[in-house]
């Protein structure tokens, strides 16, 4: 297994964890009828989900870069 492949898998796991926690908090904010539920969604859940998507996109960029062996 190549080192970069391990790195991409690690990034996928980080991305998944961030998305799962963010989405769980989003469900909590939707079920909680309180002024703070908007704050929970906008500042915590949305940030975690956004960060998770960003990490996933970064992993795609790494996956798209050909290794040194392939380039030669």
């Amino acid at each position: 297994m190549k080192l970069s492949e391990i790195g991409i898998r690690r990034l996928l796991q980080v991305s998944s964890a961030l998305v799962i926690v963010g989405l769980a908090l989003e469900i909590l904010s939707l079920l909680w009828f309180h002024p703070l539920s908007f704050v929970l969604f906008a500042f915590v859940a949305a940030s975690l989900i956004g960060l998770g998507i960003l990490v996933y996109l970064v992993s795609l960029v790494f996956a798209g870069v050909p290794s040194v062996e392939n380039r030669n």
């Binding site: 898998r9 998305v19 799962i20 939707l30 002024p35 704050v39 949305a46 996109l57």
Partner: protein, 204 residues
């Protein structure tokens, strides 16, 4: 609506869990597509759906009076007095009862709803971090603008044919004469006298 959104979120969580437990499945082309949907498309849709739901919810009367300082303002909508402008609008459904606060207090300009949300966040900050204000001392920044009233009343026959309104129409439109504070319709949320006021009880 919230049910559909929650189903979508649960589906997204299930897909993301697969990649958390077994990230190696993305070696196959088909799973790459699933990962794109589960970690990219679906969470983004959940974000948009969540924001939409929260913004819509923040426009409801129930949401506004869920803040402690707004409770007396919510109660003032039930004052049994036709001179009490907010109560009269609320009780006679001149504004949607479930969006009573938003209908009169929303800024009907292009960035108005955004400004209102920022004001709301500022009040949440004041409530939890700074010193919350006494409900009786709360005043709208810049006062209540006539544009809020004219948004609905302008063009209405009984408003424009009223000789008092017709005589001062330009002054009302330019906000030189206030609908509320110039002595005409001056009873808005009378929080100070709320404990003495007779309240209307809707028939269940």
């Amino acid at each position: 609506m919230i049910g559909i959104l929650i189903c979508q979120i649960v589906l997204s969580i299930v897909l993301a869990s697969i990649f958390l437990i077994r990230p190696s499945v993305t070696s196959a082309t088909g799973w790459k597509m699933v990962a794109f949907i589960g970690l990219g498309v679906l969470p983004a849709l959940c974000l948009v759906g969540g924001m939409n739901t929260h913004v819509q919810r923040s426009e409801t009367t129930r949401f506004c009076v869920s803040c402690h300082v707004m409770i007396p303002y919510g109660q003032s909508l039930y004052v049994d007095d036709p001179n009490h402008i907010p109560a009269q609008h609320f009780q006679n459904h001149r504004v949607p009862a479930d969006m009573a606060c938003y209908s009169c207090h929303a800024d009907y300009t292009i960035y108005g709803p955004l400004n209102d949300k920022m004001q709301g966040l500022k009040r949440i900050y004041m409530q939890y971090v700074s010193t919350p204000p006494d409900p009786a001392t709360i005043r709208l920044p810049g006062g209540f603008k006539n544009a809020q009233c004219l948004h609905c009343h302008l063009g209405a026959r009984n408003f424009e044919e009223n000789p008092v309104h017709a005589a001062m129409m330009d002054s009302l439109k330019s906000n030189q004469t206030s609908c509320l504070s110039s002595g005409c319709h001056d009873t808005a949320h009378d929080i100070a006298n709320l404990s003495h006021a007779k309240l209307w009880r809707p028939i269940q």
